[in-house]
């Protein structure tokens, strides 16, 4: 929780700096746009965070997003699926892919990195074949479906509302139920968790499955928002954004550490940085360099704070 406060502080500083540098940041339109983006990226980051908390990683979410984002318009426009059924279909596919990752990782004892790296390649290829490598979009119609990204609730863009709901649900799961406790425990020390009677395999499968679902939801939202998906590159690098958001938000790749609020703030920081690049007229080619630099700064600061705290603890202990 202390880490979340640190991330929150960083978030506030960033908001203030960007607002001062360019007051257009605080314009209603810009804020709404940012809120929408944060919502769309935040949901997949939450899923990624769950997996990272188990000490694993999911590199496939970008390709899963691409698969879902091209499959949904195809199912609706080419195959005339009813809207709700089509959405359920693509979310089921994303969820099943997560489930398969979980099964391969626990039952076959394959490494998460390898399993999901294969996923990254395979789903991208499947997407391109399935879509005939043609750019996909929804065309006209589907107003109800588009409410998911264009609609507002209490003035908040719908994706942000969905993210807040997801945060609440996953937050309760992770921080208020035994299952979340188990995830954190097994992420820290899987052996000890197993020796405490925790069905660690089952918990890991749940984490990857939820990650798949989250990627699916993000994929649906992103496709509605952008409405022009090139199968060859839509969603590329999104797995890295999701990992970056989780790590910025305080998740440790060693596992066992992380808080949903941190992950949401991490996503927000990433999106605001990208926004700032445009608002502050930094050449957009510098995008990756900025994100990488900030991430490095974040983890280095965290390490310094940790060491300082450890030294202070040691100093307090010495005289006794």
């Amino acid at each position: 929780m202390r880490k979340v406060l640190g991330v929150f502080f960083f978030f506030c500083v960033l908001v203030i700096v960007v607002s001062v540098a360019n007051p257009r940041f605080l314009g209603t339109d810009n804020l709404r746009n940012q809120g929408r983006w944060i919502g769309e990226f935040g949901i997949v980051s939450l899923g990624e965070g769950l997996v990272i908390i188990t000490g694993g990683i999911d590199l496939s979410v970008g390709s899963v997003i691409a698969l879902v984002a091209t499959a949904l318009p195809l199912l609706l426009t080419e195959y005339d699926f009813p809207v709700l059924f089509a959405v359920i279909c693509v979310l089921s596919i994303a969820t099943s892919l997560g489930l398969i990752h979980g099964l391969l990782i626990t039952k076959m004892r394959l490494q998460p990195f390898v399993v999901t790296l294969c996923g990254l390649f395979v789903y991208r290829g499947v997407t391109r074949v399935f879509a005939g490598d043609l750019t996909q979009g929804y065309g006209t119609g589907f107003e109800t479906l588009f409410l998911l990204v264009k609609g507002h609730l209490f003035g908040l863009p719908m994706p942000l509302v969905l993210l807040l709901c997801a945060t609440l649900v996953i937050g309760v799961f992770l921080h208020r139920t035994v299952h979340g406790r188990y995830l954190l425990a097994l992420g820290r020390n899987e052996q000890a968790a197993r020796y405490s009677g925790i069905r660690t395999d089952r918990m890991i499968i749940i984490a990857y499955t939820l990650c798949g679902t989250c990627a699916g939801v993000s994929g649906v939202l992103l496709s509605l928002d952008i409405n022009s998906m090139q199968p060859s590159n839509f969603g590329s690098f999104y797995e890295l954004y999701a990992i970056a958001a989780a790590v910025l938000g305080g998740c440790s790749l060693r596992g066992g550490e992380g808080h949903v609020l941190g992950i949401v703030l991490g996503t927000a920081i990433l999106r605001i940085l990208l926004n700032a690049i445009i608002l502050l007229r930094i050449p957009s080619s510098a995008e990756f360099a900025v994100i990488g630099g900030v991430l490095l700064l974040g983890v280095t600061t965290d390490e310094f704070v940790k060491r300082y705290a450890a030294r202070r603890r040691a100093a307090q202990r010495a005289p006794s």
Binding site: V178, R181, A192, A193, Y195, I198
Partner: protein
């Protein structure tokens, strides 16, 4: 005898005066003195938690002392790092080997000090490397090719590689921490020869062991530690099993282990009748194990390292499910596909490796205490925070866990208190059968006595206990009867009145008389 006479007259290589070291919650060393002469083999003995390892880590530069003085060759020194210790010629050989077993012998012996060509570019000429490694290998009697992969060597020779590596740093003081703990009897013999050779070459050795038989064999002098203080020194002529034990325990052994002979009866006892029939474990599938634990009974499980005791515990707890056989509790057959099954049936395991298997060290005391019982207490999955807190407080109170608060990260507790957290976790599940694997390893004497008391209380309440222990005194004094394992099979059973170190060792070594004289 000649060597010991020489060592008395020889100048002191190492002198330790009134060294103290405190860790959170425990005074590990409290004004300890120690002297070591040139070419002397000094054994440092004491119970677990007596401060042996801490003292050695102070000398090896791992932990700086809080107080006291260390002199090397009569000059006061500060040893603030492992490198500083090495520069002074002090080398600490850990209980676990620290070798890069993917490299060959020469590469390991010279690791970090390879002869180089081209300075920074660091091209390592094979010939020169081997030429430098070979003399050190010869000194320890390591008679293999310098190109042998370390992973291809038996463990005893790997140990010699470790010693050669220390010698290559021009070490004059070798500190060996339980060097024989994973060696066979023959390998131990070879090690003792090497030690005798090194002594002849003027190398001083501090030998830490709780195997008193070995100490008698190798030591010129013995320093006994107890509760972080000096308990006494024994010269060569005085070294004997009883003399050492008296100094180590420092109290009436009988009073330390409070076992009553009164056995509980009634429903609780029936509920805990635990029968194992023709059980085959994955580790030793060729042997069938059959035995019974009764409620209120503490059954010791003795045997040498590698006899299959821990594997049996893991099987009974569902970590490695059995290959065949039946396990029944109170007449009801139980499935053991996972630890979850075992816990649901009423079985608990205090594992051998507390830090890896017993605890999530980075979690607070409270979360560790509730980890195993959480699912049962909260069926819907919600954590009842009030209940969790009161459970943790109850266990902290009952087991007298010394912790600043229930939110303290478990890693920062002393070994004894960590072990109590493990015990608390299992008491919270109210087990009918409790398996304890080396329950008092590495914890201080006070905590040890408390854990014995809790075992006694649990026995009185009708819990059936299976206690794996390599500490003879513990086995003999705590057990109602003892099962002895040898190479995966049950070699025999001894009743309380027939318990004795010799009887146990005879069974544990497979009945071969020549190997049984261990202590």
């Amino acid at each position: 005898m000649a060597a010991s006479d020489a060592s008395i007259e020889a100048p002191l290589v190492l002198e330790v005066r009134a060294v103290s070291k405190r860790f959170p919650g425990v005074q590990a060393l409290d004004g300890v003195d120690l002297t070591l002469g040139r070419g002397e083999v000094l054994a440092v003995v004491g119970e677990n938690g007596a401060g042996k390892s801490t003292l050695m880590k102070v000398l090896g530069g791992v932990h700086p002392p809080d107080d006291g003085e260390i002199r090397v060759d009569g000059r006061p020194v500060t040893i603030e790092s492992v490198n500083a210790a090495m520069d002074l010629g002090i080398s600490l050989l850990h209980q676990e080997l620290n070798l890069a077993d993917n490299l060959d012998v020469a590469g390991n012996v010279m690791l970090g000090r390879e002869p180089r060509i081209g300075g920074r570019f660091g091209w390592v000429p094979r010939r020169a490397l081997e030429a430098e490694a070979i003399p050190h290998m010869r000194r320890v009697g390591l008679d293999v090719s310098p190109r042998t992969l370390v992973s291809d060597l038996p463990i005893g020779q790997q140990q010699l590689v470790e010693i050669a590596k220390a010698l290559s740093t021009r070490a004059r003081v070798l500190i060996m921490d339980e060097p024989t703990s994973s060696l066979s009897a023959r390998e131990s013999e070879l090690l003792f020869h090497t030690i005798a050779d090194l002594r002849g070459q003027g190398v001083s050795i501090i030998y830490i062991s709780h195997r008193l038989g070995e100490v008698k064999e190798v030591a010129d002098r013995v320093t006994v530690l107890r509760d972080g203080r000096n308990a006494g020194d024994l010269t060569r002529d005085e070294i004997g099993h009883d003399a050492m034990v008296r100094l180590m325990v420092g109290r009436d052994v009988e009073a330390f282990y409070q076992r009553t002979d009164a056995h509980p009866t009634g429903d609780n006892v029936e509920r805990a009748t635990f029968q194992v029939e023709r059980l085959r474990t994955a580790a030793h599938p060729d042997h069938e194990l059959t035995f019974t634990l009764r409620g209120g009974e503490i059954v010791g499980l003795a045997g040498l390292v590698g006899a299959g005791r821990t594997e049996l515990a893991r099987t009974l707890f569902g970590i490695d499910p059995p290959i065949a056989g039946t396990v029944t509790l109170a007449g009801k057959r139980i499935a053991l596909r996972s630890a979850h099954d075992a816990i649901a049936a009423g079985i608990a395991l205090v594992p051998e490796d507390r830090k890896q298997h017993g605890l999530v060290l980075a979690m607070p005391v409270m979360e560790n205490v509730s980890l195993a019982g959480l699912g049962e207490m909260n069926r819907a999955g919600w954590i009842n925070a009030t209940r969790e807190r009161s459970l943790a407080d109850a266990m902290i109170g009952l087991l007298k866990i010394r912790t600043p608060s229930r939110h303290q990260i478990t890693e920062f507790l002393s070994g004894g208190n960590q072990q109590k957290v493990v015990l608390g976790k299992w008491l919270a599940t109210e087990p009918r059968v409790l398996i304890l694997d080396e329950p008092t390893r590495g914890i201080d004497v006070g905590a040890k006595a408390e854990i014995y008391q809790h075992m006694e209380t649990l026995a009185a309440r009708g819990v059936a206990m299976l206690m794996i222990s390599s500490e003879m005194e513990e086995v003999i004094n705590m057990s109602d009867r003892v099962l002895v394992m040898h190479e995966g099979r049950l070699a025999g059973e001894l009743q309380r009145d027939a318990l004795g170190e010799e009887a146990i060792m005879r069974l544990a070594t497979g009945g071969f008389a020549e190997a049984s004289e261990h202590a």
